[in-house]
Point group: C2
Chain length 394, copies 2
């Protein structure tokens, strides 16, 4: 039984923030890390946020894994956009992931563009931006970096690892690679391997970026250019996949944007066009085009069963982790069938697992939204695991 | 009862083919045409193909309407790609649409790029390519041009108007605008109005084209440039929507392209990437970027009920046309719900209608493929209508 005896861990980072740049914590890996590709990557820095306090037994940590374009700012203001954190529906004092009870950690993924080492950072060997010389990374590499951060924080066992979409891939990878260190795992709106259709959508996004002459073969930072148009198109295409046909119909239908009639032109006559253009142009302010290439590639390469001859159950054999797998009815990017494949594999090894498909018309993005049944399901699972784990709250 | 007494109508065109260019027939409208936008467009040329022979009563004509990137070469070799016509599964001697029985007509749509007037043609007022000075056109305008071609061919009543996707929109428009001239109508895999999601996908394609510096604000022909990269990205994004997740999984899964292992790079490791890139690069050889803008815009603007206060049934009131509405289970671009909306409207005005949803995993593109149940359904409907119409075949 773990008594909650909080100790403040701020500041945790042993490295200073990037000069004049991001708020939050930083951790520099002391050793180079061998990536799944075999490449040895030196000088890895991890940018991360924490919320709440770690208890004396270091047992109440919840690791949140972010999605493709997410970041470590789960529950506080984003330093670039000024908007609230991306999972404030879930994480905060008194919320489902209660920061008065849990110590919540989220780090920017390897290959990202918000403080953790990625293609926009400086290659220590050349003192110039990595660009396409940054090695291609995998979900496994992202998790291996997170594991080093968790070691650094002195946490042996994570109470819970949770994430949606690519975050859910990391959850599955954690459960497979470090089963003894994950008490509970919550993969949401995700898959154990990236589907052909999803690889195809990612490839469209990459081609849109690479087609932009300002991409400069990936060398745009050195050339002081920016492939903003290509990145915006990539975001627009991806954004459609995050929503459902029904949600788009409900939100926009064929409503016109600030006009009474169609204009017989190529301006954004329809609200949905205006919305999509805004998604594209606002995205380029906070995201790096090369990071988009690297992270989408990591998703494409993800195949949890690949090391096991395609037998997904083998990836989970012997697991003692408690799983809560969640999907959404209108999510066509990571449809329920993907979650069912995970469930079948977990059942085949008699794992402790619950599965809920949430009825919603909000599509893939539902995991980021205030969906009452989703939040209720999560709350029930986390509270149940807390009881099992022996947590007693004041 | 119509006896089949064939007369050959070749050559039908009263205008010469574009010098050194396309095979087939051409028809120049004698008068300028007022578009739905109110713009008066002079000098409209229509490029079309015919198959079979018109009977003496001019009663056996079937008008085929092509989709977004289709053309008039329904059943013979495409003049640019050298590939067989796009609907040879259906149209030809002894086939479902039997060119030994019917006189089949297909014209390139207004705004297109294969002989019918569109943005790549010369503006007679300036002697330079229209580019973005070409007026924005609608599905209604496309059909009005086709109606003039049908007048020119001396055909009062079309036995059948048939088409899939945007072709199906034209079918519905024909049935609404000229109900007394359409004996049977077959709208396939289509909708009575373009959905928010489909407008969104079209907008991504347009933004990809417009983001290409070689688009030159639409003036690329005068500047001897070509926005091939943007057009290829547009095609790639659209192509995903033509297939189903299941079909992509079945055809490609996560199979690698000519390699045993992933390369940890951005080459086309996966077959689905290689396939998609090929779709993009081969498309730009046969299609014009501005035509893509104009035709997608016409689809976005399509809303058959707009003139009737949104009451779709009113668009069909009094119709005596026989309808066969067909959808495909795995088509998520024009899902069955869109066909059901058409059926409900037709039922509300007690129209003669049959509706079939074909079980297939091939997605939207199923209407172009050799789908036995689809072909059987169509064959039954056309044969039944032929009997009703009083056709007696030798």
């Amino acid at each position: 039984m773990s008594m909650r005896e909080p100790i403040s861990l701020r500041p945790l980072g042993d490295a200073p923030p990037t000069p004049g740049a991001l708020p939050g914590h930083f951790f520099d890996l002391k050793e180079p890390m061998t990536l799944e590709s075999g490449v040895i990557l030196p000088g890895i820095r991890v940018a991360y946020q924490t919320y709440g306090t770690l208890d004396s037994e270091r047992s109440n940590a919840i690791l949140v894994c972010h999605a493709l374009t997410g970041d470590q700012f789960v529950a506080d203001i984003h330093p670039i956009t000024g908007k609230p954190g991306w999972w404030t529906t879930l994480v905060g004092p008194g919320k489902i992931i209660d920061t008065d009870r849990y110590f919540v950690i989220c780090s920017n993924v390897l290959g990202g563009c918000l403080g953790t080492s990625g293609p926009m950072d400086v290659n220590p060997a050349t003192n110039e931006p990595w660009g396409l010389n940054f090695p291609v990374i995998t979900i496994g590499d992202m998790v291996n970096v997170q594991r080093r951060l968790i070691d650094h924080l002195g946490i042996e066992s994570l109470f819970c690892v949770i994430g949606g979409s690519m975050g859910g891939m990391q959850v599955l990878q954690w459960a497979k690679a470090y089963p003894e260190r994950v008490f509970a795992a919550v993969p949401i709106a995700t898959a154990a391997r990236h589907s052909a259709q999803n690889i195809a959508f990612n490839e469209v996004g990459r081609q849109a970026i690479m087609a932009d002459p300002d991409w400069c073969g990936g060398d745009y930072l050195r050339q002081s250019r920016s492939p903003e148009r290509g990145l915006a198109v990539a975001r627009m295409a991806a954004h459609i996949t995050y929503l459902s046909q029904q949600a788009l119909h409900r939100k926009f239908g064929r409503n016109l944007q600030d006009r009474a009639k169609i204009t017989y032109g190529f301006e954004a006559d329809f609200q949905v066009e205006s919305y999509l253009r805004h998604q594209g142009t606002s995205f380029v302010e906070r995201f790096d085009a090369n990071a988009y290439l690297y992270i989408t590639r990591a998703m494409d390469y993800f195949d949890l069963a690949a090391d096991h001859g395609g037998r997904l159950a083998e990836a989970f054999r012997g697991t003692r982790t408690r799983y809560c797998v969640i999907s959404f009815t209108s999510d066509w990017l990571f449809p329920t069938s993907e979650s069912r494949a995970i469930i079948h594999a977990l059942n085949a090894v008699a794992a402790n697992v619950s599965f809920v498909e949430i009825e919603t018309d909000k599509g893939h993005d539902a995991f980021l939204l205030d969906e009452p049944e989703f939040l209720r399901t999560l709350g029930g699972f986390i509270d149940g695991c807390a009881t099992l784990r022996g947590f007693v709250w004041a």
